[in-house]
Amino acid sequence: MSASGAVGDRAACAAALSRLPGMTPARLARVLRGRTPEAAWSLVEEGWAPDELRPPEGRDALVGRWREHASRHPPTAVVAACAELGVRPVLPADLPGGDRLVGVDPPVSVLFAAGDTSILAAPCVALVGTRRATALGREIASVLGADLARAGVAVVSGLAAGIDAAAHAGVLAAEATPPVGVVGSGLDVPYPKANTRLWAAVARVGLLLSEHPPGVGPMAHHFPERNRIVAALSAVVVVVESHRRGGALITADLAGALGRTVGVVPGSLRNPAAEGTNLLLRDAQTVPVLDALDVLIAAGVTSPAARPALQPSGGDATEQLILDHLGEGGTVDQLVARTGVGLGPVVEALDRLDERGLVRPSGPEWQRVLRNSRW
């Protein structure tokens, strides 16, 4: 048996093992318990499976299928096939800060990577949340992502729709510290399809990780498994928006169990997409997150002393009146009705506030600018 020297025999064998039929992260951990990947591979090639495995088709059948599969897909071929897709297998121990993945259940035995693994040496923060996010939630995720990237943090996310995608879009737009995406399918199977470009961009400037070999499609149970890696890699896991039930809450639970800090962005009581996050704030040990500085302090990147005192906003009475009445946004007509100031002065004040970067148009409405509004 031989394997490519560039990747290392261990990673190649682990990758080949992960491709065996019926293999799961838990089974792979069983296979590798007390054995090196090379040793496990040799056993499989000769016809072996761990005694504990009780597949429905019978152990003998499984052993036969594994042996047959192993003869057709040796580690060298697996590595070469991955390389063609720009993917390489890595062992957690070989990643910068790979010890973060120790103690995860089930253990992470091998990862497939596309992009630059050295990004993991930066402080990592996960931004997670619901796929059915509100526009405001997506905006918050995007702004937090961009601010954290500018502060030198590698933003980790699951590249799902909604909050995940918005966070990474913000990171990419900031063109600062690149993002890390951890996904629940093979790296050549973008899911959801709408995020295909985002995947490519993350792989190009940042790092894409998956536990699954190329070609594996997204399965429902992959995502909770993916979440344990997201949580484990990150010093802080920030939940931006989550419904009462949601994958983001699973990630928060896993993060808590691993001793990571869980940050939560509070939301409106009327917003169903903030119900889960608000419950987390009330019922779990979490840190409220109002801006990126809160996250940086929780991650230990910045000291609490860095927070500047609140600045008076300046500007004239009309401008202040508009800021006070803007709430979660409003059209010009709504602002005229709320403030009692005429159309002309409202339009003029909005323009001046816009010039100072305090408000901005978002579709039909004017909204407060979130970014850096407090630090």
């Binding site: 526009a135 405001l136 997506r138 905006e139 995007s142 702004v143 992502g145 961009a146 729709a161 879009a169 913000g170 737009a173 900031a174 709408a194 409003g330 059209t331 010009v332 007509d333 709504q334 005229v336 009705a337 709320r338 005429g342 159309l343 002309g344 339009v347 003029e348 909005l350 323009d351 816009d354 010039e355 148009p361 978002s362 579709g363 039909p364 409405e365 970014r371």
Partner: protein, 499 residues
Amino acid sequence: MLATVRSSTLLGADGHPVTVEVHVSNGLPSFTIVGLPDEACREARDRVRAAVLSSDLAWPQSRVTVNLAPSMLRKAGSGLDLAIAVGVLVAAEKLGPNAIDGIGFVGELGLDGSVRAVTGMVPLVAALPHGPCVVPAARVHEAVAVAHGPVRAAETLRQVVACLANGAPWPEHRTPPPERVVAPPDLADVRGQPLARLAVEVAAAGGHHLLLAGPPGAGKTMLAQRLPGVLPALDADLAVRVTSIHSAAGLPIPASGLVRRPPFRAPHHSASLVSMVGGGTSMLRPGEISTAHGGVLFLDELGEFAPAVLDGLRQPLEEGVVRITRARASVTMPAGFLLVAASNPCPCGPAGACVCGPGELARYRRRLSGPLLDRIDLRVPVSRPDVEDLLVGPPGEPSRVVAVRVAEARARALARQGCLNGSLPVGRLSEVAALRPAAQHVVRRQLERGRLSGRGLHRVTRVARTLADLRGLDELDADLVRAALALRADVLDREPRAA
């Protein structure tokens, strides 16, 4: 013997003169019509013969040939019946040729000899040569305004023959009962919503197309319906043109004979391409965009219209006319309308509680955006009126006050540049709508932030010019440009831009 009778036929919004030649000669009794008649026109054979016999007149027991000249022109509909019948009677020497000299005839015949109205009386009568015309009694009022001579009412073929042959008196003109006068909706009904009101005023003053976007119940339709009320009445030429189009399209014509108020057309979003731009049967009927000529075309639920229908609006929006081309004929019809479109911010309706998926939302926006939206100067968010404004707020400014400002602004624009600001060519903007330095500062920031394109700048400048005309100002200062920018909100984009 040969008889020649004047009549006309309809193609698109225009009438075309037709000469009906009838030849009666010896031979096997027969009745043929040549000269490119359409199906309804060919059926005239049976109607005319029955009408003549019902009127106790003898049908010639000879060979009757009717030629409709010019023979290249397709003759549509039943409006030539009366002319054919009169022609047959003259050719059969039942009527003297002098009796019909220089007279035009338009009307359909019933089997009992009654003279019935046809669609398009106004353009048909306008196309008749100088001299008296005989038209169905029920539509005399439509003919009076455009006729080139005295208008004679025809009730039955028998009566027409009696009047022509024996000089019996023509029946009195029947004036239709005056329509119930319905006061047009007034802007005073709109409470609050100052920006939306301003948009309606600017649209009327500058001829700027308008998109109203907002949740259901915000008052988009209410605002749109009040736009014609602040437009000036149609001038004499335009009134005749609009009346012709409405007549050709079969719309009711007011008792006065002329459409004087700007029309308001609001086709349902299930409208087909042909019903919208015109075409159809052999006479190529005017579509909604032509019947809205000189007035307002209101498209509620813009996103629900078929994409092909919306695409079909582009050329008329650009040129003010629509060219319909078919294998047999092509016509150009006026389509100078003010487009007012209304749209929900997303397919599911109310903003804020949107349950649309991102794909659904993207599809909806894609359908709305693009070339059509590019031609719309004013895009205004309409939010539900404030509760206090609705309950205790003062009534808004009434339409008649706004209409005065609109008329003055239009007069200023026409005196300065010969066209409304909405159709001001780009090349003339710097000459008649130069921005002062403070105004330039405002738009420069929008351009730098990528919120305004070059084309958008032109549109904002035109709108600012109209705002200045409404206030009687010459110079375009910062506050006008700010207001113009507020009237061009990115109303369909509810996604936060990338940070």
